[in-house]
Symmetry: C2
Subunit: 233 residues, 2 copies
C-alpha cells in the first residue's frame, strides 16, 4: 500500500517538474514543501524521492538538497544490455547501429550545426588528439566529441542515443587499442572539417570511414579472443 | 549510510543474476536467503530490492515472490524524453531514427530470420490487419510486429531499441489515423513477403515505403496542429 502511494507521489513529482519547465540541475522544493504541495505524508515523499533517485531523475547532494539529475532519467543501462553475456557480439551489434546512424548524423551536423557548436566540436577534437598523443585515456572525451556532433544534428533523440550507444561499447570492449590512434585522429579531423565547410556528403563519408576503422579493430580483437579460446581447449 | 549499503547490495544482486544466468521471469531467492548470501541485513536487502524494482530490473508479484522483470531493466523512459515539451518535433525526430535503422533491419531480417520467426511475423501481420479492419486499436500489436522483425535481424541491441522508439512515438502522437489503414496493411504485407522470400533489397524498400507513409502522416498532423494554433491567435 505504501509502495503504491510512493509511486503515485513519484508521478506527481514528475508532473510538477514538467509543469515548472524543470531542467537538469534545478533544485527541488524540500521534503516539507513537497509533502504540502502533493498533499501526502513526508514519509511518502521520501519514498517517492528514493524511487526517482534510483531512476536517475533526481539526485541528492548531501547538505544542499535534492536536484533534477543531469542524467535526465536515463538509467545506467538504458537499453537493457546488462544481462547480455557475449560482450564481443554486443560490441559488434552496437557498432552496427552506429553504422546505420552516425554517418547520417554527421551529414545533419554539417547542415545544422551553429558556429558555436562547431567550435565546441573542434575543441573536443583537439582534446582527443592531445590525449592520444600523450598516451592518456581518451574514451570519455571521444564520447563527448561524438555526442557534440549528435547534438548539432538537432535531432533531440539522437543527442541522447549516441552517448548511450558509445558508452555501452566502451563498457564491453577495450577500443582504446593503440593501433587505432592515427586513424582516429585523422578521421575525427576529417569529420570536423567537413562539418565546418558544410560538406554534407564529405561528413557522411568521413564518419563512415571512421566506423570502418573501428569495425576492423573490433574484428581483430574478436579474432585474438577466439584464438585465445582455442588455446585454452 | 543506509542508502550506500542498499546500492551496494543492489549491485551484488545484479551480479548474482548475471552469475546464475538469470532470465526474465526467473524467481529470485527470498529476502532471508538473499540477506544470507550477500551477508547483509534483511532491511538492506529490502532497500536494494525496492531500488531494483524502480529500475525495472526486479518485479514483485504479491503472494508469490520477487522475479526478474520482463522489462529487463529498461525504464519506462529509457531515452530520457519525458521532459521534452514539443511532442510533434519529438515524434518527427524518432521517426527520423526509424528511417536510419528499420529498412536496414528489414534487410537483415530477410537474411537471418528463422522459419519460426517468419511465422511469428506473419501471425502479427495478420493480427494488425484484422484489428485495423475491425476498427480496433492496433498500435500495440503493430509495435510487436516491428519488434519481431527487429529480433529476427539477430542484432541484440536493435531488438531492444526498436520497441523503445516505437512506443515513444505512440506516446507522443496519435498515429492511428484512419487514413493510413490501407497503406499500413499493404506495406506490412510487402515487408513480410520480402522477408519470406529472402529478398534483402525488397525488404529494405518496403520498410522504407512504410516509413514514408508514416512521415507524411505526421507532417499532416503537424500542419493541422499549426493551423489550429494560428486560429487560436
Amino acid at each position: 500500500m505504501g509502495k503504491l502511494l510512493g509511486d503515485q507521489a513519484a508521478d506527481q513529482i514528475i508532473q510538477l517538474i514538467i509543469d515548472n519547465d524543470g531542467k537538469a540541475g534545478d533544485k527541488m522544493p524540500n521534503e516539507y514543501e513537497l509533502a504540502e504541495q502533493l498533499n501526502v505524508s513526508r514519509s511518502t515523499v521520501r519514498e517517492a524521492i528514493k524511487a526517482l533517485v534510483s531512476r536517475n531523475i533526481l539526485e541528492i547532494k548531501r547538505g544542499s538538497g535534492t536536484f533534477i539529475s543531469e542524467k535526465c532519467g536515463i538509467s545506467d543501462d538504458p537499453l537493457g544490455l546488462m544481462f547480455v553475456k557475449n560482450k564481443l557480439k554486443l560490441a559488434t551489434d552496437l557498432l552496427e547501429i552506429r553504422f546505420m546512424i552516425e554517418p547520417k548524423i554527421a551529414s545533419l551536423a554539417a547542415a545544422n550545426a551553429t558556429d558555436e557548436e562547431i567550435r565546441e566540436i573542434e575543441v573536443l577534437c583537439d582534446k582527443v588528439e592531445q590525449l592520444i598523443l600523450n598516451n592518456q585515456p581518451h574514451m570519455d572525451v571521444d564520447i563527448e566529441f561524438h555526442g557534440a556532433i549528435a547534438r548539432s544534428s538537432k535531432n533531440i533523440v539522437i543527442a541522447n542515443l549516441i552517448p548511450i550507444i558509445n558508452k555501452s561499447i566502451s563498457l564491453c570492449i577495450d577500443v582504446t587499442d593503440r593501433q587505432l590512434a592515427k586513424e582516429t585522429i585523422e578521421t575525427h579531423k576529417e569529420v570536423l572539417n567537413c562539418i565546418k565547410s558544410r560538406d554534407i556528403n564529405g561528413a557522411y563519408d568521413a564518419m563512415y570511414l571512421h566506423l570502418v576503422y573501428n569495425r576492423r579493430n573490433i574484428k581483430k580483437l574478436i579474432e585474438i579472443k577466439n584464438n585465445e579460446t582455442h588455446l585454452d581447449i
